[in-house]
């Protein structure tokens, strides 16, 4: 086991974990405003498919990223219409959105299955150029990876240090109280869902445009649900989401390391570790204090006429 192979493992773990961090951040914003988005899997699929198709058609990966983000925002607005304006059940609406995503992504992407695109370019950090080429190539990441942790910090600032974030959190805790203090819960929730969708779209863009560089049906393979789990793990906090995404990346890295060192452990069992860990953490918290979920999460705001 050489230093090179260890670095290679870490580098690929970072690549696979980035989409999760964005998706988790998006779901945190959704849930902070009081709306559970169980359709995240479908949102990610549509964004991945739309982004990839846009990149294939225009030839520009950046256009692809933009389209993916917008597609995510639009998908979330559908959820918003159902749960906010029509006051439908959030879990059922989310699952319906998931099936919608299965269909729409297959429909958008069908013309581009197997298409070759120019992936997001990988940029070398300025200080690393003296390194040997082999090492340097391991530290060449695309712009979405470089921006992932700053995005988490930005979301923390947005949610906890701005008026907008205060409004979102207030609505998530109690829509009635937020209304009484002069805020418009409906409008705030729409905004939060749109922002959450943009973030989810960025994650999906990284998956299809930078990481896999192709489109296949159901390519997100449960990442939407992983992100929902990570939201709980990170206690609805953007900075802890970094730790959550790292946990999954570490599991991936651990697997690759074991494989390259010839130890035979099924990758599927290792895949379960982060989930079981999340479950364990939940049980530990459950016994001590409240789980810091937004208080009105999942409740329908009936509005006050």
């Amino acid at each position: 086991m050489t230093l090179l192979s260890i670095l290679g493992v870490l580098s690929s773990a970072v690549f696979s974990g980035t989409s999760l961090l964005y998706a988790t951040l998006g779901e945190i914003v959704d849930q902070r405003s009081g709306i559970v988005n169980l359709g995240l899997e479908g949102v990610l699929l549509v964004s991945a498919s739309a982004g990839f198709s846009a990149a294939a058609v225009t030839g520009s990966p950046y256009v692809g990223v933009l389209v993916a983000a917008l597609a995510g925002g639009l998908m979330n607005l559908i959820l918003g219409y159902l749960t906010i304006t029509r006051r439908a059940n959030q879990l059922a609406s989310g699952l319906a959105l998931m099936f919608f995503g299965f269909g729409v992504s297959a429909w958008i992407g069908r013309a581009h299955v197997g298409a070759r695109i120019e992936g997001l370019p990988r940029l070398t950090l300025p200080g690393l150029s003296p390194l040997p080429v082999l090492y340097r190539s391991l530290f060449q990441f695309d712009v979405l990876i470089y921006l992932a942790v700053p995005a988490a910090i930005f979301m923390w600032w947005l949610l906890f240090r701005t008026r907008w974030g205060l409004g979102v959190r207030a609505v998530g805790e109690s829509a009635d109280a937020a209304f009484a203090s002069g805020r418009n819960p409906h409008w705030i929730r729409y905004q939060a869902l749109f922002v959450g969708g943009l973030l989810a779209g960025l994650g999906a863009a990284h998956l299809s445009i930078a990481y896999a560089m192709n489109w296949t049906e159901y390519m997100t393979a449960g990442r939407g649900f992983i992100a929902v789990a990570l939201v709980i793990f990170s206690k609805w906090h953007p900075l802890r989401a970094i730790a959550g995404a790292l946990l999954f990346s570490a599991a991936v890295a651990f697997q690759l390391l074991l494989q390259s060192s010839g130890i035979q452990i099924s990758p599927f069992l290792l895949d379960t570790i982060p989930y079981l860990l999340t479950l364990g953490v939940l049980i530990a918290w459950g016994g001590t204090r409240r789980q810091s979920a937004p208080a009105s999460l999942g409740h329908v705001y009936q509005g006050s006429e």
């Binding site: 699952l95 319906a96 099936f99 919608f100 269909g103 709980i232 479950l279 016994g287």
Partner: protein, 352 residues
């Protein structure tokens, strides 16, 4: 003092309500089909031809109709797996995972007990499937009963773990010499008998019987009464001496067992083999169906049939009009959207 004319009145008003409900449902379906027609048109397909195919393939022939019943079978069971816990206010979003573990347990039976005769092997597999599903619901049940973690979160988490466990066994131990991602075909004794030469298998009958049983238990037994009491007001039920915690664990496990049975029916009936990642949302579809039907057994049958018609029609759309199969999910989702977005005064009180 129910005199005959009053009864006639009541029957008439029931009739009016039924017609009203049918009209509402019809108009909602029309909107959904219209929206999907636009999608078909945009992708260069004639919506009228496609819809004619869809109806001709499902209602036009006995074979097509039997395929709808095939698609409906797992939905009946997965919807029941959600409806049962919903009666005491539990939200079981984990049917997908329970179904996988049930399929896994049943497959273990099919592979290791393959020398058993069918009359012994099939019940054993069904029992194993139910045990598997129930075990997968046990942890969420206990955690909820002790007030530690909400069952919505835990069942959702365990959904993601279950397919990995199936993959672990399939890729690691059970795969056939030819494939890496599925077991060898089950022996004939491990296959559910099919009915009348179609692909409809015995689990359809089992599913319908279980729904009748569910209706009967809820309506006419002490358990049903106590469950309704808990669903109405858990605190009051507890003070009246109803063992609330025991009910939470038992009912969630029962839901899991039904979901596990759905998994067994899929591997033993529909597929005849255990395939890694074989279910793409069957369990979630059960949640939606149960929610749309308000947890009502009859409603579950009707809703499952409607959904099955759409999904099995999708198979044919793919063959004749070269639309990817997954696209049929759009029609399904439009239907769900329209129902979810319907005006609130028709909304039922049950939440799942």
């Amino acid at each position: 003092m129910s005199t005959p004319p009053e009864r006639a009145d009541r029957l008439r008003s029931m009739g009016v309500r039924t017609v009203g409900a049918l009209l509402r449902f019809g108009s909602m379906a029309a909107i959904a089909f219209l929206l999907f027609g636009i999608i078909l048109l945009a992708s260069g397909h004639d919506p009228i031809l496609s819809y004619r195919d869809l109806f001709a393939s499902t209602f036009g022939s006995a074979r097509g109709f039997s395929e709808v019943l095939v698609a409906m079978t797992p939905m009946l069971l997965t919807a029941l797996a959600v409806a049962l816990p919903s009666r005491i206010g539990l939200i079981n979003v984990g049917v997908e995972g329970q179904l996988y573990i049930g399929a896994c347990f049943a497959t273990w039976g099919a592979l290791t007990l393959s020398h058993w005769p069918a009359w012994l092997l099939l019940p054993a597999m069904a029992l194993l499937g139910m045990i598997g599903g129930a075990l997968w619901a046990l942890v969420p049940g206990i955690l909820r009963a002790r007030g530690l973690v909400n069952e919505t979160i835990t069942t959702l988490l365990l959904n993601s773990v279950a397919p990995m466990i199936v993959s672990f066994f399939v890729f690691g131990y059970w795969h056939s010499p030819m494939d890496t991602n599925k077991t060898a075909n089950f022996v004939a004794a491990a296959r559910l008998p099919t009915l009348l030469g179609t692909r409809v298998d015995l689990s359809l009958v089992v599913g319908l019987l279980l729904l009748v049983l569910f209706w009967f238990v809820m309506k006419s037994t002490r358990w049903g009464l106590e469950m309704r009491a808990i669903g109405g007001n858990p605190q009051a039920a507890l003070r009246n001496g109803i063992p609330y915690r025991a009910y939470v664990v038992a009912v969630l496990c029962l839901g899991g067992a039904v979901a596990g049975l759905a998994g067994m029916s899929l591997v033993s009936g529909f597929y005849g083999v255990l395939l890694a990642n074989f279910s793409r949302g069957t369990g979630f579809m059960g949640f939606l169906i149960s929610w749309l039907a308000g947890g009502n057994p009859f409603g579950i049958v009707v809703t499952s049939f409607a959904v099955a018609m759409i999904t099995s029609g999708g198979n044919l759309l793919q063959l004749t009009r070269d639309v990817p199969y997954a696209v049929i999910n759009i029609l399904l989702a439009f239907t769900l959207f329209v129902v979810l977005a319907r005006p609130q005064f028709t909304l039922r009180k049950k939440t799942a």
